[in-house]
């Protein structure tokens, strides 16, 4: 059994069925890229995994335990499943350092020193330790997103969910965030990413899943998906991505 098991998950917002029976297994140290057009259900799937959305049918199991709507259980689950959002969502009233320290101190109940001992090397690694007392709005988008990733990493998660983390960034800032994610891949972090960065998916993913209208139509190693997709819809999607110059 994988670290993350998703079994025939369904989710609708009113009449709009966003997920129509999604099955996926993620093993430890795997990097899974979810690709597909906007509205195909990638973000919703990620949000269901850490309980930000409730599922209508099916089941999700993380590390042997089903994801429920029990608040106390969800709080525990979220403490080891990190999520990073497209829009960063840093806390604007806190400095960079306060953003990173909040989770370790309040959720993991670490002492200030222990929490600092986690935050400092992480911020140093992204070269933003000097900016620790700045407020997020004073940083560039790329810097903000790297701080958001560090904020999630400070919880020492077992699984990272990345929801189109480069989509809101100026093109020249994308690489610094992708570089950081590549480092995480090299360290063996288990990750599930929704992404439009096809070249990143090609080089880093263990598996690529193509989502279309709430279903995983095709799943396989990147070499196969990108060179000889079996499903005609996958081929069509990739053709459009190439036409847009995104691969």
């Amino acid at each position: 059994m994988g670290f993350l098991e998703i079994r025939s998950v369904e989710k609708a917002f009113g009449e709009n069925k966003v997920l129509k029976g999604v099955d996926l297994t993620v093993n430890e140290h795997e990097v899974i890229c979810l690709i597909g057009a906007s509205g195909s259900g990638k973000s919703t799937l990620l949000r269901c995994i850490n309980g930000l959305e409730t599922i209508d049918a099916g089941g999700i199991v993380v590390d042997g335990r089903p994801v429920t709507q029990d608040w106390a259980e969800l709080d525990v689950l979220r403490s080891f499943v990190g999520i990073v959002f497209q829009s960063f969502n840093l806390f604007p009233h806190m400095t960079v350092l306060e953003n990173v320290l909040l989770g370790p101190r309040r959720v993991l109940k670490l002492s200030n020193e222990d929490a600092l001992a986690r935050a400092e090397p992480l911020l140093n690694r992204i070269g933003l330790w000097e900016k620790r007392d700045e407020y997020p709005d004073r940083l560039s988008g790329g810097q903000q997103q790297r701080v958001a990733i560090v904020r999630a990493l400070a919880m020492q998660p077992k699984l990272m969910l990345l929801d189109e983390v480069t989509s809101a960034l100026d093109p020249e800032l994308v690489f610094e965030v992708l570089d950081m994610i590549r480092e995480l891949v090299a360290e063996g972090m288990t990750m599930l990413l929704a992404t439009h960065e096809m070249s990143f998916a090609k080089e880093s993913a263990t598996r690529v899943c193509f989502l279309h209208q709430g279903q995983i139509l095709e799943e396989g190693p990147p070499e196969q998906i990108f060179t000889e997709p079996k499903n005609p819809r996958t081929a069509e999607f990739l053709k459009r991505v190439i036409a847009a110059g995104r691969m």
Partner: protein
């Protein structure tokens, strides 16, 4: 003014002559007419014409074509309105001099103000104590109400209803009614523990109940105004509902509600005058007693000055706080 002083009043000239004789009224009408007609009406006509001319789209040539008249008319109109207003104001003052003089002597009698000020100020200190205590409790109580009202889940429904009922009732009740009920009601009801409460604390309780309901709604708007993605980010770090409120939502929400909060606090400060009705000898009561004794309301003007004087520095201080906060958090500040 109905019962004028029969005997020699202390300051008979203070009343002035507030009724105008027919000649004055005629002069008035003539003055306004002779000003409004030649200055203000052409000015307004000029502005309307300018508007029309600006709207006219030149079919050929540059967009500037034919707009010179519009520009000139606009300029003339602006000047006309300015000059007209000034002249009108000056004329009003000179014609109504007797009236203004009377206003000055009645409401701004310097001797009365100077004479009553020490007493009024001493009594006003009571208002200050009253609103400082009430503001302190309002800040806490209203936050509790707002948080309880927003609690999620079916189990918290009774608490939510209770808080909604509280806000509905105390926002609807006139402050005077609440103050009366708390001020007099508490001594009649003989509630255990509350029967010997001093009038001061009854005033504080009444004002806290009234303004707690308003401020709770202000807090709620602040809390609701924080984008849900902030909650999502906090919850996905594993922070509990309470922690999310405490560390992420409330600190951001409170920053946005400082201006409306200040509004309610100014209202509260003014309404401390209402506790005079339950027998508290505060600034307004003191001033009105003085006014009655000396038959001149300038002492009430004095307490009015006190009320205004404390709100202005408060408003400037709040502006400064907001400004500093924004400079710190916004880019390029």
């Amino acid at each position: 003014m109905t019962s004028g002083p029969v005997d020699a009043p202390p300051k008979p000239e203070a009343h002035g002559d507030l009724t105008m004789d027919p000649y004055a009224t005629a002069a008035w009408g003539f003055a306004i007419g002779s000003l409004v007609v030649p200055i203000l009406i052409p000015a307004i006509v000029a502005l309307v014409l300018a508007r029309k001319a600006r709207r006219r789209i030149a079919a050929i040539g540059s967009p500037w074509t034919g707009k010179d008249r519009a520009v000139r008319a606009q300029r003339l109109g602006n000047i006309g309105v300015f000059v007209g207003t000034i002249v009108l104001l000056a004329l009003f003052c000179s014609l109504y001099r007797t009236g203004l003089d009377s206003v000055r002597k009645t409401f701004f009698n310097w001797d009365v103000i100077k004479d009553s000020f020490p007493e009024v100020l001493r009594a006003f200190w009571f208002n200050v104590k009253l609103f400082m205590a009430a503001e302190f409790f309002v800040l806490i109580w209203a936050l509790i109400v707002a948080v309880l009202r927003g609690l999620p889940g079916p189990l918290s429904a009774p608490v939510r209803w209770l808080m909604i009922a509280y806000v509905d009732i105390f926002r609807g009740l006139p402050a005077l009614v609440t103050i009366y009920l708390v001020g007099f009601g508490l001594s009649i009801a003989r509630l255990p523990g509350l029967e010997n409460l001093s009038l001061f604390w009854r005033g504080v309780i009444a004002l806290t109940l009234v303004y707690g309901a308003y401020v709770a709604e202000v807090y709620r708007s602040g809390i609701d105004g924080v984008h849900w993605s902030q909650t999502a980010a906090a919850r996905s770090l594993g922070l509990s509902y309470g922690q999310t409120l405490r560390f992420v939502v409330i600190p951001q929400g409170v920053r946005r509600i400082i201006p409306p909060l200040l509004n309610d606090f100014i209202g509260l400060q003014k309404d401390t005058a209402l506790v005079s009705t339950i027998g508290l000898f505060e600034g307004f009561r003191q001033a009105s007693v003085y006014a009655g004794n000396h038959f001149n309301p300038s002492s009430v003007t004095a307490v009015g000055i006190c009320f205004v004087a404390i709100t202005i520095p408060l408003a400037r201080f709040t502006d400064y706080l907001i400004d500093r906060d924004q400079k710190r958090m916004r880019a390029g500040g």
